[in-house]
Structure formats: C-alpha cells, structure tokens
Amino acid sequence: MTVSLVFLTLLMVTFGGWLVWPSFNARPWESQAVAEGPAVTQPEGMTAGRVGLVVFLAVVTSLFALTISAYMMRMEISGDWRPLPVPGLLWFNTGALLLGSLALQWAWNGAQQGDDFALEKGLLVGGVGTWAFVLGQLVVWYQLIAAGYYMASNPANAFFYLLTALHGLHLLGGLVVWARLLVRRHQGAAPVALCSRMELCTLYWHYLLVIWFILFGLLLFG
C-alpha cells in the first residue's frame, strides 16, 4: 500500500498545489473590466485532448499502482509465494513492444513534418509490433499453462496473469485508436490533420511501454 500511497499523495499534492497556487494572489471579489496581466492565461498547448490523456493516464496509473501494491502485500502475507520462471519469450515480446513504440514515434514525427512515408510506415510497423506483443503474451500464457503454472495454483501465477491481462487490455484499447488512425489515413487524411491524434496515440504507447517495463521488472526481481 505504501507504493500507492506515496504515489497518490505526490500526485494529489502536486495537483492541489497547481490548483491552489494562483489563488493566493487572486482577489475574486473584485470585478474587472480588463483582466489584469497574463497571469490568468492557460499555458500554450494545453489542449483538451492532451489534458484528457493526462487525466486518463493518472487513472490508469492509479489502477496499476494499486494492483502492484496488492502484489507486494500479498507476497509478504503468507509463505505460499513461489515466483514464476521467466519465459524467454517475454524478452522477445518486450522487444516487439519497444519497436512498436519507436515506430509510432517515427510516425508522429512524420505527421509533424508532413512526411507521408514516415507516417504510413511508422503506423504500420507500430501496429505490427504491438500485435506481435499481444499475441506473444498469449503464447506465454499458453506455455505457462502447458508447463502447469495455473492461475489457481499460486498467487504469483495469479498476479502474473492478472497484471498481464490488465496491461494487454489497455493495449487493445490503444489498438482500437490505432485502427481508426489507419482508416483515416487510408481515407486520405493529410499528415498534419492526424498530428494531434497521432501524438496522443504515441504518448499512450510510451506510457504503456513504461508500465510494461515496471511489470517485467517486478517479475524478474520481485
């Protein structure tokens, strides 16, 4: 619980501070014909899409932080925790997701610079890498089950399946957005028109990659 607690406290204090900070100088009871100075302007580039993504990522972070807290607490509570062997395929999957993330970054850069080729190929490679990761995870599940590591037989197994499933579902949600981007691209949308969506998509991928690194690290060293 400490992990979630520290994380959420930091998040809330930062957020609360950011909210409250401008209020110290504010005198809301005074009416103004002209707003005084640029203090009330929002930072450049704070678009609805970006703010929405950040808020959503905060929710997802809370979800994973709490699950990881539960993982750690359950590990210590009773002596029945037997760590899983790490299937070699997971390294391959990690590579595939990394590739997907990098390719989407390439596509995003392409969209910014109006580079059709980079956007097209980046989107494609990004999707393929991600699909390879998702299918690879399914194969890992299959291998583990074949080797007798059932979900019910040990809490370590149960958490492994739960965490990978949660992570995979978030990626699948991302792939829906990816598919819509692909469709719009093939309907002939200009790279610049896709730029803001491409950006959100890419950032989401990077985020899920980081989450995967944390989960993988937990499996390797936990």
Partner: protein, 593 residues
C-alpha cells in the same frame, strides 16, 4: 475595485476556447435517447439514479417492517434481510449518490456554470450514461438470479462474501462485481469529461477563482473518484478471480463441515485495504459536491456573498488530498497494529479542521444575511444541522479506543446515515428545488415542498437519533432479530417500533416530492429565466430551459465572481457574473435619477 476602460481586445481569456461543433440530431431518439447534450444526459442520470434509489428505499422499508414488528409480517427471511441490507447500502452509496451528484448535477451544471457550450467530449459523455444504465440493469438482474442478490454487506468482505452459505454467494456476488466494474468504466468516461471541461472549456474571464463553489466541489470530487475507483475495480476483479477461477488473492484456507477449501493463503485484510482505499474517499466524493451546492444555495437565498471564498476553495482541495490518507479508520477492529490505527486517528481528526472551516463559513454567510426561507434554503440549513450532528459522532468513531466497543453497532449506522446519507440527500432535494425551474421552466410547488422538507428533516431525526442510543447499549447492526438477549433492554424494541413508523412517514413524504415533480412539470408556475435572482451563468441563458449549446449565439464574458449579492451602490441586490462593471454603474445612475 480594479476597474478600467473596457477593451474587448485586451481581454485575456483563461482558456482559449474554440467554438465546438455540436451534434444536432433531428429525431426524437437522437435528441433524447442517444443524446450527446450534457443537459439531457444529466436528466437521464438523475431519473435512473432516482429510480434505483426508490428500489433501495423500498428495501429499507422491508427491513424496517421486520425490525419494528418482528414476526408480525414475515415478509422476508433472515437471508433476504441480509441481501436487502447489502443491496440497500450499495445502491444508495454508489448507484444513487455518486451517480446523481457527478453524473446528474455534474453534467447539468458544469457546462452551464462554466459558460461552455457542452462537455468537451460529448460522445464519451453519452457512452458514460449508457454504461451506467447497463450497470444498473446488471445490478437489478442480481435480484433474479438463482440464490438471489449479493448478501455480504455493502463492504463485500471476503471470505464471507464468496463462501458457500452466505446469501447470494452463488450468483448474486458475481453479478454485483460485474455491475461495479461496468459502473466504474462508465464513470471514468464521465469523470474525464467533467475534469477536462472545467479545466479547458470555461468562458472568457472565468478564472478558476471565479468558479462557483458548486463547480469546485464537483470538480474535486471527480478527481478523487477517478483516483479512488480503480481500487474498487481491482478489488472486484481479484474477487471475481477468487470466486470463478479458484485463485487465492483474498481467500484464506477454510475448514467447513470437516473439509478444507481449495483456497489457501489469501488475505481478507488486503481486500479491506483496497476497499476502504476507495471507500473513504467515496464519502467525500459524495460530500464535496454537497458542500459546494450548499454554499451556492446559502449565498443566493441569503442574498449575501459567501464568507471566505478562498478559504472554502482551499478547504475543498485539502479535504480532497487528506481523504486519501484516512481509509484505515474503517479497519480499527481488523486486527491491525494499534499504532497504525493511531496514525489514522490523527489524520482523521485533522480532516475535521477544513470541514469545520466550511461549517463556520456557512454560518457566517447566514449571519446578518437577508435570509429568505425558500424551500432550497430550508434544505440547505437542514443540511448544516444534520451534517454537524453526524460529523460530531464521527469524532467518537475516529478514535481507536472509542471505536472498538462501538464498532458494528447501531451507533455506526446512526452516524453514517446522518452524515453521508441524510445530509447529502437534503442537498440533493435543495438542489432540485433550486434548479428545477431552469431544467423545466416551471417552479415546484412551494407548499408541497415545505411539507416535504419538514417531514423529511424532522422524520430523519426520529429515525437516526435513537440509533445512537441503541448503539451505546451495544445493539449490533445487520441482525434480522435479536431474540433473547440479556444486554439489550426491552425499550430498544419500543425504539425500533418508533423508528419504523417514522421511516414509513418519511418514505410517504418522498411520494409527495415525486408527485410535486410530475405535477409541476405540467401545472407549475412559470419560472421565467431567473426566479431566484441568482448571479451564476446558468440563470443568464437566452432560453429557459436552455437549448443545446446553452448560450445563444455568443458565449458569455465573465467579469466577476459568482457572489456579488447586495453589493453596495449597485441598483439591484445581485449582479450576474456576465455584467460588465460600467453597466452596473449606468444602472445605478438610472435608478438614482
């Protein structure tokens, strides 16, 4: 006053809001069923939440019949009693209060009060409601599955909740957990909308520090809900795995009828941590919007600016942050380290400070105000009384040594019903009486409203006040019948009869309210655009009720905070937020001449 020459070009908006494209469907279905208009979604949320809330009210009446007159009616058996206790709690806390405050009032008031055309992501907003609606349907389906609905208490504690023999452990619990998961998914979509709309889509001049406190309350509650609901989501998923896939996240090894269970090593305490990590912020998720709405009702109906606006905002933010570090005060009797308990007792007492600041500020707002005892005002004042009384018993329960003997008695039932059931519900009623004229264009009937208020307000005291005494005597909660018990005196049964009769009278008063809602919709007095002479933007719309897009051709410009009531030197006793300073001077000059 920082007044200068008006120059629209030099005006700096808090957020550059581009005109949004609104979906304007032509068909009835597009307008009212699959609607993307936040106001319609709000009413959909409100009606659904009220409907499911009435189901929970009926459940509580069935329980009261059993408690007040045991063996007289035999409508329900002990198993059903437990199921009704559980479903009553779950429905009221999650499906009624959370949904109506954030989904209902949030959707209606955020775009209107911020001066936006609609929510930022209207399609997601529509999905949010339909997810909520689906979760309610799944919840209701729980009553009809084999074995009946979930019956392990609204806290769903394992191993009880998924062990054989507990009512509803066959299918009811599975349906409940699924329903919660769908609810949370739906809420996340809505919550994203509320937060982003408040941050991004405010009208020009509407700085954060000029937002009405209603919006501050709903905003902070949404942020908390977004961070807290994942805990319930994870807990629900893990419990589903325990129940359906045989894992042992929460389930310890158990011996039943001489046989050991398949589970082993799981920790019920882990569930309690996850549940209350959601459960305690949930209390404030319900309370903060209520705080905000009450502040606005008091200021408007006392014709006075809110006392200590900035302090109120800070208190809301501080309560939001602190409420994440008090959850374990629900677990003093779970066998945790007593020092851990003391830590949480301290944070619990600290959170009372910003809450008390809010109460003082409400009272100081009323002080020497031009108080009008309209129905919304009655409910707002009623809230202050009920909230303070309920909060004071919370100070007892927040201390480890006092809580241990009182835990799981009727003292707890009395406490949380006062502080987080009756108090927020009074605010909901007040808010409906206040904003109904904007939603429908007609006033609610005043006499019926006053009768409704007095029966509800006094009646709930008759119901919940005696429960504190019963708790002090040690009467345990969630019991179907008490039988021959030496420590419970006979007078407790007399109290139970009184409580049950009062409960029925209060429930009847709610029928009066529903009749008022329907009758006034057709026959109520025409309200006009601003019947309460309020300052906030929702009362300044071109049409009443506002049409899709809220504000005619141009969005309002905001020049002032929402509490300019009885400003000296101005002609009227209120100045709407979108009136420029030079216009008020002109008005005052005309009034003088």
């Amino acid at each position: 006053m920082g007044e200068r020459e008006y120059d629209a070009g030099a005006y700096v908006p808090p957020a550059e809001t581009e005109e949004m494209e609104l979906v304007h469907p032509k068909t009835f279905i597009g307008k009212y069923i699959w609607s993307q208009d936040a106001k319609v979604i709000a009413i959909q949320y409100g009606v659904t939440a009220t409907a499911i809330g009435l189901v929970a009210l009926v459940l509580s009446l069935l329980m009261r019949l059993q408690l007040g007159f045991p063996n007289a009616f035999s409508l329900i058996d002990p198993g059903e009693y437990l199921q009704y206790v559980s479903m009553h709690g779950m429905i009221m806390v999650v499906y009624l209060l959370t949904a109506i405050f954030l989904g209902g009032f949030g959707n209606y008031l955020i775009p209107l009060m911020c001066g936006a055309r609609d929510m930022v992501f209207p399609y997601l907003n529509m999905l949010s409601f339909w997810f909520y609606f689906a979760s309610v349907l799944i919840l209701v389906a729980g009553f009809f599955v084999p074995g009946g609905s979930m019956g392990a208490g609204w806290t769903l504690y394992p191993p009880q909740s998924i062990s054989e023999g507990t009512p509803g452990s066959e299918a009811g619990i599975v349906v409940m957990l699924l329903s919660l998961a769908v609810f949370i998914a739906g809420f996340t979509m809505g919550g994203l909308n509320y937060v982003v709309t408040v941050l991004q889509a405010r009208a020009r001049g509407m700085t954060l520090m000029r937002l009405p406190l209603t919006i501050w309350g709903i905003f902070m509650a949404t942020v908390m809900a977004l961070l807290a609901f994942p805990a319930l989501f994870v807990a629900a998923l893990m419990m589903l795995c325990d129940r359906l896939l045989g894992t042992s996240f929460f389930m310890p090894e158990m011996l039943s009828m001489g046989e050991t269970s398949d589970h082993g090593g799981g920790s019920p305490i882990l569930f309690q941590h996850l549940f209350w990590f959601f459960g305690h912020p949930e209390v404030y998720i319900v309370a903060l919007p209520a705080f905000g709405i009450v502040s606005d009702l008091l200021a408007c109906h006392a014709r006075k600016n809110i006392f200590g606006y900035r302090m109120m905002v800070w208190a809301i933010v501080i309560i939001g942050v602190l409420s994440f570090v008090v959850w374990a005060h629900h677990m003093y009797v779970s066998g945790m380290n007593p020092y851990f308990g003391f830590l949480f007792a301290i944070t619990t007492l600290i959170i009372a400070v910003p809450t008390a600041i809010k109460v003082y500020n409400w009272i100081l707002t009323l002080w020497r105000g031009n108080i009008r005892l309209t129905v919304p005002m009655l409910f707002a004042i009623g809230f202050i009384f009920t909230f303070v009384n309920g909060g004071l018993s919370g100070l007892f329960l927040g201390n480890v040594t006092v809580d241990v003997p009182l835990s799981d008695t009727y003292f707890v039932v009395g406490h949380f019903h006062m502080v987080m059931a009756v108090a927020p519900v009074l605010v909901i009623f007040g808010a409906i009486y206040h904003w109904y004229p904007k939603m429908t264009g007609r006033m609610l009937n005043d006499t019926l409203g006053k009768v409704h208020f007095w029966i509800t307000f006094l009646g709930t005291y008759v119901i919940y006040y005696p429960m504190h005494f019963m708790g002090l005597e040690g009467v345990p909660r969630r019991y179907y019948a008490y039988g021959e018990t030496t420590f419970i005196s006979d007078s407790v049964q007399t109290l139970n009869v009184v409580i049950s009769i009062a409960a029925f009278i209060v429930a009847l008063a709610q029928v009066l309210f529903i009749i008022n809602l329907v009758w006034s919709y057709y026959r109520g007095r025409e309200a006009g655009p601003n019947p309460w002479r309020a300052t906030t933007l929702e009362w300044q719309t071109e049409h009443t009720p506002p049409r899709h897009g809220n504000f005619g051709p141009t969005l309002p410009l905001v020049y002032r905070w929402p509490y300019d009531y009885s400003v000296p030197g101005s002609g009227d006793d209120f100045i709407p937020q979108n009136v420029a300073p030079q216009d008020t001077k002109k008005q005052a000059a005309e009034d003088r001449s």
